[in-house]
């Protein structure tokens, strides 16, 4: 390990992040962009809209991870990323039918996954971003699993029995995802010069997408009120961020400065460019055969 790198470990710039990690420090920027779709969601009932955000995050990330099969750096990793994808897919499949009950439409899992347009998806931008190199995937998984780890823990005693059930299973799965990502970040950060450079670039790349995970959108606040989840997204941040920071430091990497821009709007159905293409791929067979069963 080079001398300058070991120096880096002792000076992880935390201030900007710590500021954002403080509960309540988040603006409620997303609510500024209240759209027709959001009103529609609100009309459907806050619980359903909240759960849709949880399910869509899992669904979209499962879809992205599915792209790794046959493309991973080693065969073991094809299997591991496939496992994570399957776990997330299972979480989404557990939640969609429940959402169909709560919003009164009685829709099933494929109605949600295959027949909704981009503006009706409530996932954050982090999970919809195109597949990058393996370091990027591990940076994304580290943040997302750290977030989900806190989120599902806060849903274990949910007033909704289905959500509590999904969370009970998911919390064990996500612990493994977090562990997997953490160990790869350590190996890549503290591996070769090239892997260190790539892992640092990947941590920097993920930074603008992080705030959105922990943003207190109105549906989440309503969900807290309704006892669906014990904590608002912003309250999950400190612990999740601690895991990421500790991993980054141990991996001889540095936390990036506060990013100059940040993603927003996913929970309102406002997505980034890759989302439409992701949906086109996910949905086109189902939509080409309306009414068919598979």
């Amino acid at each position: 390990m080079s001398a300058d790198r070991s120096e880096d470990t002792s000076r992880v710039p935390r201030s900007a992040w710590a500021e954002r990690a403080r509960p309540g420090a988040q603006g409620r920027g997303a609510t500024e962009a209240v759209s027709e779709d959001t009103s529609e969601l609100a009309a459907q009932g806050g619980s359903a809209a909240y759960l849709l955000g949880v399910a869509d995050d899992a669904m979209v990330y499962a879809q992205r991870l599915g792209e790794w099969m046959t493309n991973a750096p080693q065969i073991e990793e094809d299997m591991a990323l496939g496992n994570v994808s399957l776990d997330l897919l299972g979480q989404a499949r557990g939640l969609y039918p429940r959402i169909g009950e709560l919003d009164g439409t009685d829709r099933g899992e494929d109605d949600y996954a295959m027949f909704r347009d981009e503006r009706q998806w409530r996932n954050v931008h982090l999970v919809e971003q195109e597949r990058g190199d393996f370091a990027r995937e591990m940076a994304r998984m580290l943040w997302f699993a750290a977030y989900q780890n806190e989120l599902y823990a806060a849903q274990l005693a949910s007033s909704d029995p289905v959500l509590a059930g999904v969370a009970g299973k998911a919390v064990k799965e996500v612990r493994y995802h977090l562990d997997h990502a953490r160990h790869w970040v350590l190996r890549l950060g503290d591996g070769t010069d090239e892997s260190h450079r790539r892992m640092q670039a990947a941590i920097d790349w993920a930074a603008p997408y992080v705030d959105e995970l922990f943003e207190d959108d109105p549906m989440s606040l309503e969900a807290v009120q309704a006892g669906l989840v014990a904590m608002a997204p912003s309250q999950l941040r400190a612990r999740a961020q601690h895991v990421v920071e500790a991993t980054v430091a141990e991996a001889t990497l540095t936390m990036p400065e506060a990013p100059g821009w940040r993603s927003r709007g996913g929970r309102d159905g406002l997505h980034s460019r890759p989302m439409g293409f992701l949906l086109a791929e996910l949905q086109h067979i189902a939509r080409s055969h309306p009414g068919a069963t598979w």
Binding site: E77, N83, L89, L188, G191, I285, G291
Partner: protein
């Protein structure tokens, strides 16, 4: 799921659901009587284990065959992996992902089995990437529609199981044991392929057409999976005779192909699909299905590299390997660094 009016769920759908598989699993270990001599072990139908002395030719034959099998699993991830992001329902997506994962797992078992013969996985992957070792030619055909995933499960996995059930009794212990597990999982894959086609053939007109088109395209290549003719006049060429004497191969290519046709033709009828062979008919006298002439020119052409996907499959595999090189190097560097740190701490 299979519509009990037509399909009896207890009916075997593939060779791993027949008595031959159960028999293969009941291997009787009599090594304590037979001793450690290679010829004596082979004569007594006993298993050769990695530490045993064995003829170099036997070792090389197994390295070639098991590696080729491992490569087939890894390359075989591509045609179906191609559909994971496009599966038409979430249930199908989950099943397909799990299936492709299983294939990766089979590849790993088989590379490990090959390693017991004194060669490592990195070397085997190099041989796959530089074309000195082959994989099953079936994977040089493309998956053009969703129904192809059904046809691969039903026909390709069905044919593979027919080939592999006898390998559960292979004289080389690690390969035989790997095959017992692989066949069990393949059997599940074959059923899911059949079920994809079952649903499609009872679906919309477009779905039925999709299923028929897939059966048309995969039937003949599936029959080619058993390899060139090796009975009658063809019996003296190829590897068959030696492999049979060594207990690596138990049935001729032609016998296995016939068993496959006999098992599969009635299933096509149940699916309501027409197999693309006007000469396919039950022969009461022989007690077997007759079938038409296989286009061996096509077989040899694809085997030589001139199939629809040969170049693409290897290039994809090579690209994934090369793009991942820095990750593997980093993992090794990290492991070495931390092993050193542990040593100096001790």
């Amino acid at each position: 799921m299979y519509g009990n009016d037509v399909i009896d769920p207890n009916d075997p759908l593939n060779a791993a659901e027949t008595e031959s598989y159960d028999q293969a699993r009941r291997h009787e270990d009599r090594r304590h009587e037979v001793g450690d001599d290679f010829d004596a072990l082979i004569a007594a139908d006993q298993r050769i284990e990695p530490r045993d002395a064995m003829p170099d030719k036997y070792r090389q034959t197994l390295i070639r065959q098991i590696a080729q099998h491992a490569h087939s699993e890894i390359i075989g991830m591509q045609p179906e992996g191609n559909w994971i992001t496009r599966a038409p329902s979430l249930r199908r997506k989950a099943i397909l992902t799990a299936k492709v994962q299983d294939e990766a797992g089979h590849g790993l078992y088989l590379y490990s089995a090959t390693e017991t013969l004194g060669i490592d996985r990195a070397e085997l992957l190099d041989r796959l990437h530089n074309g000195t070792q082959k994989y099953s030619s079936i994977f040089n055909y493309p998956t053009l529609t969703w129904a192809d995933n059904g046809a691969i499960g039903w026909l390709v996995d069905g044919a593979a199981i027919m080939n592999q059930v006898p390998l559960c009794r292979c004289s080389y212990g690690p390969y035989a044991r790997a095959m017992i597990r692989v066949c069990k999982e393949e059997s599940f894959h074959q059923r899911q392929g059949f079920e994809i086609l079952w649903v499609l053939s009872r679906g919309t007109e477009a779905q039925r057409a999709m299923a028929q088109d897939a059966a048309n395209r995969w039937w003949w290549p599936a029959l080619m999976m058993f390899g060139p003719p090796d009975t009658g006049e063809a019996a003296t060429g190829g590897h068959t005779a030696q492999s049979m004497a060594w207990g690596i191969k138990r049935f001729s290519n032609d016998d296995l192909r016939q068993k496959f046709v006999d098992m599969t033709a009635p299933q096509a009828q149940k699916l309501g699909l027409t197999l693309p062979d006007p000469e396919l008919r039950w022969n009461e006298e022989r007690g077997h299905w007759d079938f038409g002439q296989i286009d061996w020119d096509e077989f040899w052409r694809v085997l030589r590299g001139d199939g629809p996907c040969n170049a693409e499959r290897v290039a994809h595999r090579r690209r994934a390997h090369e793009e991942g090189a820095w990750v593997r190097e980093a993992a090794n560097a990290y492991a070495a660094k931390h092993a050193e740190a542990r040593e100096s701490a001790a």
